[in-house]
């Protein structure tokens, strides 16, 4: 079981019945990043449309941290294991 934690502004993009966790996290069963992408697309289509590119990367402006480590690239071939903690957040930008 992989736990995905999200900040408030992304957590609200999840379907209402997935937003029960007070810690703003969801549990997924994926064993790799690409499986996680597929599972998020199926369960959280609005979130996936905002955050993921077609090739399964995070869209520009978003940050991935796995087990407290920021992963700027190379994560598409990443394996995930039960107990891993994944966080997706935005990197703020403006004019």
């Amino acid at each position: 079981m992989v736990r995905v934690r999200l900040p408030s502004y992304l957590f609200r993009l999840l379907p209402e019945d997935e937003r029960r966790s007070s810690a703003r996290s969801v549990a997924l069963t994926s064993g790799s990043w690409l499986e996680l992408v597929q599972e998020m697309r199926e369960r959280f289509p609005q979130f996936a449309e905002r955050v993921l590119t077609e090739s399964g990367n995070l869209a520009t402006g978003f940050v991935l941290a796995v087990n407290d480590e920021v992963l700027p690239s190379g994560y598409t071939s990443m394996e995930l294991h039960s107990g891993d903690e994944v966080a997706i957040i935005a990197a703020m930008a403006g004019g």
Binding site: P7, S8, P72, A91, M92, G94, G95
Partner: protein, 501 residues
């Protein structure tokens, strides 16, 4: 659906207000409340860091409209090869100012996110400072915000006049932007005029006349003895409220304004353009509103004939009223006067036998009622008509040094923002009268009156083309002034000249 409001007639002079028009399709919204302590801490931080840009999150432990704290970022990778080209693609301003724009590092984003979670708080808003621009929500702000944060509102703190920071908050929803009301110490109350005041009793009348006698006094050269424009205008307002014809005639018509007709004829009339007015389409259709606030619905306006100055008021002209402004280098005499409040501009206009243009008059004069975004057919020609971020080198330029528009008027786009008469209300277009609309706001004498924010138009020397558009609306508090904020004179066709005795 076409959203041009139907042309009205004498029987139906007001537009019909609908929730769709009033709210632009965005959900009903309420004010964002910044407590005095949060407001003070946030502004102190932004001021202390200026001219370094500040940005971060506003945080709450509950109500998304009542933040209780903020968290600030320090790092900025805007100038790395990954981001610099994107910023510079927005125009010369971003090439010339590498401190314009910000992007947080992934590492700091993650570190601060963990801190927010550890404190049991949530992000409810984003904030950032503008170093030179007003607190408007530009295209780049809109694009970078909406890629990430639909659910968060966005506070912009303008440090354009560092001693007078201005705060505006915007919400993005369904691809549209709406300005939210800010409740904070000293924040202006936007919007609607309030009801008429009750008649003054005899004691109040006497007091008003005594105040007017003091505040409307002129020196031998005809300059106001009082240097506080707002106080003089308030005294005029109080005097008029007495309805005491003799006192009004003595202190105002034959007093403060006694030479205004002569001054108008001598200094202003030769440089006024007569405009026939007539019917035109004001504002922007919803389909084209993009991230611009307050421009919808596009609607029919009918204007009476009026005169408008061909250029903004110059230092040379303003110096006739305020001799302290005469002391400028020769090269600045023909530059627009700036750092004037709405009160200064309004009072000067009266002293010159004129008034400020209404927002509708200004828009008609700028675009001539044409469909295009500027007085020219497209942005590539704008440099011929305007001093703005692409060609001004950050400097205010002498008036009439670019081409005039089709009506013979100069500098409506760029150079300096121009105050208009109207109090700002982003929903005004949905309820404004069709004939000669002007949103007058509260009387200056009304108890608790705040004057509200006043409309300013046209953009300035350092604004992007999008903010110099014919239909672009912005606003500042009436007592605000800035180094790129001026005005121009208008006069009604039927204004009575007040000549000296």
């Amino acid at each position: 659906m076409e959203d041009v409001s139907p042309a009205g007639d004498q029987e139906m002079p007001m537009r019909i207000q609908t929730s769709e028009h009033c709210r632009d399709g965005l959900p009903e919204d309420g004010p964002i409340v910044l407590s005095p302590s949060l407001h003070e801490r946030l502004l102190a931080t932004v001021r202390q860091r200026h001219p370094q840009k500040s940005y971060g999150y506003l945080l709450s432990d509950g109500d998304p409209r009542t933040p209780t704290d903020f968290i600030l970022f320090e790092d900025n990778i805007r100038n790395t090869s990954a981001w610099k080209p994107r910023f510079e693609s927005y125009g010369r301003y971003f090439v010339e100012h590498d401190d314009a724009g910000f992007v947080a590092t992934p590492e700091e984003s993650w570190r601060l996110q963990k801190e927010i979670w550890a404190r049991g708080m949530v992000e409810v808003g984003v904030f950032h400072s503008h170093l030179r621009h007003p607190a408007n929500f530009s295209q780049i702000d809109y694009e970078l915000h909406s890629e990430r944060f639909d659910a968060l509102w966005h506070l912009i703190i303008s440090m354009r006049s560092p001693e007078r920071p201005q705060l505006r908050i915007f919400a993005v929803s369904h691809g549209r932007v709406r300005e939210l009301e800010v409740r904070a110490p000293g924040a202006p109350q936007h919007g609607r005029s309030t009801s008429n005041q009750p008649p003054l009793d005899a004691a109040a009348c006497n007091l008003a006349i005594r105040r007017a006698r003091l505040l409307l006094a002129l020196d031998r050269a005809g300059h106001p003895r009082c240097r506080e424009s707002a106080a003089i205008l308030q005294a005029m307002d109080e005097l008029l409220a007495t309805e005491h014809d003799e006192a009004i005639d003595e202190l105002l018509v034959r007093g403060f304004l006694r030479d205004s007709g002569r001054r108008y004829q001598e200094y202003v009339a030769p440089h006024m353009a007569p405009l026939n007015g007539g019917r035109f389409q004001m504002g922007t259709s919803r389909a084209h509103a993009r991230h611009f606030c307050g421009e919808t619905p596009r609607h029919v306006v009918e204007l009476s004939p009026y005169h408008l100055a061909q250029t903004p008021v110059t230092n040379e002209l303003y110096g006739l009223f305020d001799p302290s402004r005469r002391d400028v280098p020769a090269c600045a005499r023909r530059k627009p006067v700036v750092s004037v409040t709405w009160f200064d501009a309004t009072l000067f206009a009266l002293w010159m036998g004129c008034r400020l243009p209404t927002e509708a008059e200004w828009e008609f004069a700028c675009g001539g009622g044409a469909e295009s975004e500027w007085c020219c057919s497209d942005e590539s020609l704008l440099s011929r008509y305007a001093w703005y971020s692409e060609n001004s080198a950050g400097e205010t330029h002498p008036v009439a040094t670019r081409d005039p528009n089709a009506l013979g008027l100069f500098d409506l786009h760029g150079n300096v923002w121009e105050w208009c008469q109207d109090i700002y209300d982003q929903d005004y277009y949905a309820r404004s009268p069709i004939r000669d609309p002007v949103n007058p706001g509260a009387s200056l004498t009304q108890e608790g009156a705040t004057h509200g924010d006043r409309v300013c138009r046209g953009g300035s020397r350092q604004l992007f083309a999008e903010m110099c558009r014919t239909r672009y609306r912005f606003h500042e508090p009436a007592d605000f002034w800035a180094a790129d904020l001026g005005f121009r004179l208008a006069r009604s066709g039927d204004m009575v000249e007040m000549k000296g005795d």
